[in-house]
Amino acid sequence: MLELMQQIVNGLSLGAIYALIALGYTMVYGIIKLINFAHGDVMMVGAYVGFFSVSMLGTNIVVAMIFAMLACALLGVIIEKVAYKPLRRATRIAALITAIGVSLFLEYTTIFFLTPQQRIFPQGTFPVQDYSLAGISVSNKDIFIFISAILLMVILQFIVKNTKTGKAMRAVSEDKDAAVLMGINVDNTISVTFAIGSALAAAAGVMIGVYYNTINPLMGILPGLKAFVAAVLGGIGIIPGAMVGGFILGILETLVSGYGNSLYRDAVAFGILILILLIKPTGIFGKNTGEKV
């Protein structure tokens, strides 16, 4: 029983990481229907910006996170303008392939300039406290990452549902042409979407960097794919869905490693993706919306 509780705690903190990345994924998809495969790599860039701000400028972790979010918001807007905007009228598969290209571009540009070696966050960037509650080990970084994920989800949900920008986003998401007719600046709205999504990725990147202590240029690939699974599981495009999908995936993976075979963990994660796409492609929170004519 104790072991099960510990595994669930492990799963929740792993899930919080997936949820953090999945939030940005799902938001960009929700607004412009693009699976931004470069999302995990924007997260990696964010982790590096955070790392350099801590190690070279000596800032604390909060300032580092703000720097990373600003830098990645800008990066996100640039990526959108350069790579995706010219393809807005092209097929969705063209945009998808471009996203993979952007992803590889970010990975290997980072390797070229910063070497493939891992980098280590300086000791004490985040003073870790371990707690033992009735035999279950939890650390303050687990709690921090868990609360951050929930907080960011609430803020994101608020922006999308209750602000003018959010209303514009939803309008663009529903019908781009109609939105233009209603006087919404579609280009700006999409830029804002990318800025927010990339800033979220950066926040996740810095947190993951601090959480595992090390970062490297390919750190975004696997968590990025897992976050994609989480987003699909919860219902892609639905913000609370990303959150729930992340936690479910985290707990499932932990249980597979803990009670089955640790090597089947990734197979289970991607097996879920296949199952969801076969059985309920809209995900747990998805509603089947019939095409209106």
């Binding site: 072991e3 510990q6 595994q7 492990n10 799963g11 903190s13 792993l14 891992q118 280590i120 000791q123 870790v128 371990d130 033992s132 080990s137 650390s139 595992y212 202590n213 090390t214 390919l218 750190m219 696997l222 993976e253 932990t254 249980l255 597979v256 490693s257 803990g258 009670y259 075979n261 640790s262 090597l263 963990r265 990734d266």
Partner: protein, 392 residues
């Protein structure tokens, strides 16, 4: 036109003379060298990705040659090294070997990495000249794909998986462990080999393996598996991976309250270990390695002193292994009482109980040395030699 035709003839004539003269000179030089000097080829990574391996090994080999010459050489002849840079590439290593064999070397020391040694293998086999690899640890270096031993290829380092055997002996005999858990990098042959040898030896000694789990390269979260291992109460955990994964793994193990001894192989040997895992978390962790400068063995200390005096730096494992490679070759020349590469090869294959800096070694039928290793322990973030383990 006339003039230029004359010039062409002249050039051709000169060229022909040059060829004859060149050949004559070369042959003469070879004979002369054979008369008074024994030529040893050093094919090392002096530039490129692993330049530090090669340059340290070269320094170690040259020290050995210098010492032997000071003692009067062998068979009344002095040793002479011909060193060449293989630029850390297998292709280059092959052309270096092809060049060295034409110079009349009796044997080649190097290259350092397994891949580069394999680049030279065909040249050495075709020319029937022995190669002694100081640090090529891959199993496939001394055997062909059919599993037959390559006659002219030898090494002085133990093969990778042998470290598993040494760690099992250490865990069982020195730490008193009886229930071990294994956590290996399932995406890596090095790690799987170490784990297999560890398991085999530990069970043979009477120990029990309570869990055998895996992770893959790039994993950063091991808590689920560690929680499972924690519930099985092992008294030793074997993690034969590389430091990128092992460091966060040890950190998470300690965070989960797993305080038992953790062991691994030379993939742990990196300054990043302490930075990522933290000093306190690394206490009570051990890994196997080829050699340690701290080894109190007088033979090691003598070598360390001589190396420091000559180069003003500490010898690393590559320097020590290359030093041993030269000494082993000298032993073989003495045993064979000949500098004929064929005789040297036969003597190398029969070496028993050769006392090297990196331990006493006996060459087995696959040309791998059966030899001792050292156990390095982390103490407050410092690597400290714990003991030397002799194979049983």
């Amino acid at each position: 036109m006339r003039v230029s035709r004359k010039v062409v003839w002249l050039v051709l004539l000169l060229f022909a003379f040059g060829m004859v003269a060149g050949c004559g000179g070369k042959a003469g030089g070879g004979k002369e060298a054979a008369a008074e000097e024994i030529l040893i080829g050093i094919n090392a990574e002096l530039s490129g990705a692993v330049a530090s391996y090669g340059s340290n090994a070269r320094d170690g080999a040259l020290l050995a040659i210098e010492q032997i010459n000071e003692q009067g050489g062998i068979l009344g002849k002095k040793l002479k090294a011909i060193e060449r840079d293989n630029k850390s590439s297998a292709d280059e290593a092959m052309s270096v070997s092809a060049d060295l064999v034409t110079k009349g070397i009796v044997a080649q020391i190097g290259p350092l990495t397994s891949g580069n040694v394999q680049g030279c293998t065909p040249v050495m086999m075709d020319n029937k000249i022995p190669l002694i690899a100081p640090a090529a640890t891959a199993v496939s270096v001394t055997v062909n794909e059919k599993g037959e031993t390559l006659d002219y290829i030898f090494r002085v380092c133990f093969i990778d998986p042998f470290q598993g055997t040494l760690m099992a002996q250490f865990a069982y005999d020195n730490l008193g462990a009886r229930k071990a858990a294994i956590l290996k990098d399932a995406s890596n042959d090095y790690s799987k080999g170490l784990a297999d040898y560890f398991k085999k030896t530990f069970i043979e000694k009477g120990g029990q393996i309570v869990a055998e789990e895996g992770f893959i390269k790039g994993d950063r979260d091991f808590r689920a598996t560690l929680t499972k291992i924690r519930s099985l109460n092992p008294d030793f955990i074997y993690v034969p991976g590389y430091y990128e994964e092992v460091a966060p793994l040890i950190k998470q193990a300690r965070e989960l309250g797993i305080n038992v001894a953790i062991g691994g192989g030379d993939g742990w040997d990196s300054p990043d270990m302490v930075e990522v895992a933290g000093k306190a978390n690394l206490n009570n962790t051990y890994f196997t390695n080829h050699y340690s400068v701290e080894d109190p063995n007088p033979k090691v200390q003598e070598f360390v002193k001589a190396y420091r005096a000559k180069y003003n730096k500490d010898p690393d494992a590559f320097a020590a292994l290359a030093y041993d490679a030269v000494q082993l070759l000298v032993q073989a020349i003495k045993d064979a009482n000949s500098t004929n590469p064929e005789d040297i090869k036969n003597a190398l294959a029969n070496i028993k109980d050769f006392e090297g800096v990196t331990g006493k070694m006996t060459i087995d039928e696959q040309h791998n040395p059966v030899k001792a290793g050292v156990i390095i322990e982390f103490k407050d973030g410092k690597q400290v030699m714990n003991t030397r383990i002799e194979p049983k």
